[in-house]
Structures are given as structure tokens and as C-alpha cells.
């Protein structure tokens, strides 16, 4: 009973936190001609970075420039622009900086390759670690030792 109550409380808190994360986004009303456009609006506005405030996407930012970019995003979606066209429009004006998922180029290739490289480095480290230490972890025992072990384990406890 107690456990069920605890679970219920923590689930409620989690749910509220989850809802609160939506409240962070700036509240504005845009009218979309289709739910699909609205979905793309939310995806793109979370992927586009505010040039002024830098560590916020344009969905969360209150900066005037972020508002302008949201207006442009809405306009372009309604005009039937593809995601690629919209991203190209933004990048032409604000650079790759404006994307939270920048394209692969000279400046970002290290960024994109880093997770793979680090994973390989880690794997290589682990591999060499286990290859060098098989003897240290050896469980070979001599016959005398085995006899001693058997005797100790076999001793009745009283």
C-alpha cells in the first residue's frame, strides 16, 4: 500500500515536470493550415538556435530576433517550403551556428566524428586492459591448495 502510494506520488511529480518543460516554450498563437505543418513548426523551432541568446532554441527564447525567426518559420511553412529550404534560408543569414544539428563541414567534422572516435578509443582501452591481465586473474591452484580449500569448506560449523 505504502509502495503504491510512493509510486503514485513520484509518477505525479514526473508528470508535472514533464508538463512544465512545455511551459518553458514561449506562448504564442500561430494558426496552421494543417496539423502536419504545426508538427514541423515545433520540430524546426526546437532545432533552430537563437543567434542572440545562443544557448536557447528559438522556441524557448524571448529575444526579439527569436520571435522574428518564428514568424519567418511560420510564414515559410505556410508557403510550402521544405525543411531543407527553411534551414538553408536560416543558414544563409545566420550561418551554421543557427542549427543545433549543423551539417558536416570543415569546422564540424570533428564534432560529428568525436562520439565514434571516443567510443573506439574506449573500446581499444578496454580490450588492451583485459588482454594484459589474464594471468593476474588466474584461478589456478596447486593440489595442496585445493586440498586445503576442500578441508576448510568441508569443516562443519558449530
Amino acid at each position: 500500500m505504502k509502495i503504491a502510494l510512493k509510486a503514485l506520488i513520484s509518477a505525479t511529480i514526473c508528470g508535472q515536470l514533464w508538463l512544465a518543460s512545455f511551459a518553458l516554450a514561449v506562448i504564442e498563437t500561430y494558426v496552421f493550415s494543417s496539423p502536419d505543418l504545426e508538427l514541423r513548426y515545433h520540430q524546426l523551432s526546437q532545432e533552430l538556435r537563437c543567434p542572440k541568446c545562443q544557448n536557447q532554441n528559438i522556441a524557448d527564447s524571448n529575444a526579439p530576433i527569436a520571435r522574428d525567426l518564428r514568424v519567418v518559420l511560420h510564414e515559410q511553412l505556410e508557403q510550402g517550403a521544405t525543411d531543407d529550404e527553411i534551414l538553408a534560408f536560416m543558414v544563409a543569414r545566420y550561418g551554421e551556428f543557427v542549427r543545433y544539428r549543423p551539417g558536416v563541414d570543415r569546422n564540424t567534422v570533428l564534432l560529428w566524428a568525436a562520439p565514434g572516435l571516443l567510443l573506439m578509443l574506449g573500446a581499444a582501452g578496454l580490450l588492451s586492459h583485459f588482454r594484459q591481465r589474464p594471468s593476474a586473474r588466474s584461478t589456478d591452484v596447486t593440489e595442496a591448495e585445493q586440498a586445503e580449500i576442500t578441508r576448510l569448506l568441508g569443516e562443519p560449523r558449530d
Binding site: K52, P64, I65, D68, V91, R93, Y94, G95, F97
Partner: protein, 183 residues
């Protein structure tokens, strides 16, 4: 096996070096996406005369494009310096960014007008095409009408001498003499 002991130390040294380097990088300094490109096309009104102007209204010689607004405090700070530059013959075009034309005209009447002309950009659409994200910003247009440099923030003597003077060699020497005379 001894060398292995130093791996953490080396890793630490490399990381510390990278982080130390990071301290001297200004994250607010963004590369301008429009560098080397022609000034974007526009069709707007001129602030004082009210006539229609376009990118063709900007003369093909090195000039500054200053993004300003009456709501921008830093613009007030840099205004006297723009007046000094204009006096020394540096052509300055204004982009009156997301401002009210009435207020902007008042500002120029009160504080002086360093601008050859002012593009009225109430909606911020020219600013958007230019990649402006705040005011003040100052761009250099080269003789071909291409964007050669961008400065974000207040333009002052030190910034002008460091980053702008190569496009305005005549004004640079005059500006230097002018600031010495002031001291």
C-alpha cells in the same frame, strides 16, 4: 609499464590546455554568414525623405552600414563617434532597425545625423536578410558593394583602428590625429 602511469597526467594536461584556450574565446562572436556576399536586395523607404530606396541607392565605394534604433542604448553611446567618422569623410548608411520612424527622425534632429541615408526597416526584414541579431551592428561594404566585415556592439576608435581602418585609409589617419588633438 612505467609510461602507463603518466597517461592520466597527459590526459589532464591536454584537457587543461584545451579548457584554458577556451577561456580566451568569445562565444558571442559569431562569424557573419553574409561575408563576401553582396548587400541583400531591399525595397524600403528612406527615413528623412520618405523616397523609395533599394540596394542601388548605396554608392559603390567603401562605406559603413550601421544598424541602429532609438530603443538601443549602445547606439546612443556610439553616436558621437559616428558623427566624428562622418566628419572625416567616411560614408555611413543607416539601417533604422525595428524602430519608429518618428522617434528616429527626432533622434537625428537632436543628436546630429552622420548618415548619408537611412533605410527604414520597421519590420526588421532587411536586418533579417543581413543576419542582424541585435543593435548596434556595423558592417563594412567594400567598393564592389560586398559585405567585407561585421562588428557587433559599439563602434569606437579602438575597434575602428583595429578592424575598419584598412578600408578607409584616408579617414584612419585623420581619425588618429583627431583623437590625439582631443587628449
Amino acid at each position: 609499464m612505467r609510461a602507463k602511469r603518466f597517461i592520466p597526467l597527459v590526459a589532464f594536461a591536454v584537457l587543461a590546455g584545451l579548457l584554458f584556450r577556451g577561456l580566451s574565446i568569445d562565444p558571442t562572436e559569431l562569424p557573419a554568414a553574409r561575408l563576401g556576399q553582396p548587400f541583400p536586395e531591399f525595397a524600403q523607404l528612406e527615413l528623412k525623405s520618405g523616397r523609395q530606396i533599394s540596394v542601388a541607392s548605396l554608392a559603390k565605394r567603401p562605406a559603413l552600414v550601421n544598424v541602429w534604433a532609438t530603443w538601443c542604448y549602445s547606439c546612443r553611446v556610439e553616436h558621437p563617434y559616428l558623427l566624428a567618422l562622418a566628419e572625416q569623410g567616411v560614408p555611413i548608411y543607416g539601417l533604422n532597425y525595428k524602430d519608429e520612424p518618428v522617434k528616429a527622425r527626432e533622434w537625428l534632429a537632436q543628436l546630429g545625423d552622420p548618415y548619408q541615408l537611412n533605410v527604414v526597416d520597421e519590420e526588421g526584414s532587411v536586418g533579417l536578410d543581413l543576419g542582424v541579431y541585435g543593435a548596434p551592428e556595423t558592417y563594412v561594404l567594400n567598393a564592389a558593394g560586398h559585405i567585407a566585415h561585421r562588428h557587433v556592439g559599439v563602434l569606437d576608435e579602438a575597434v575602428f583602428q583595429r578592424d575598419f581602418s584598412r578600408w578607409f585609409p584616408a579617414a584612419a589617419s585623420v581619425a588618429a590625429v583627431g583623437s590625439e588633438a582631443e587628449q
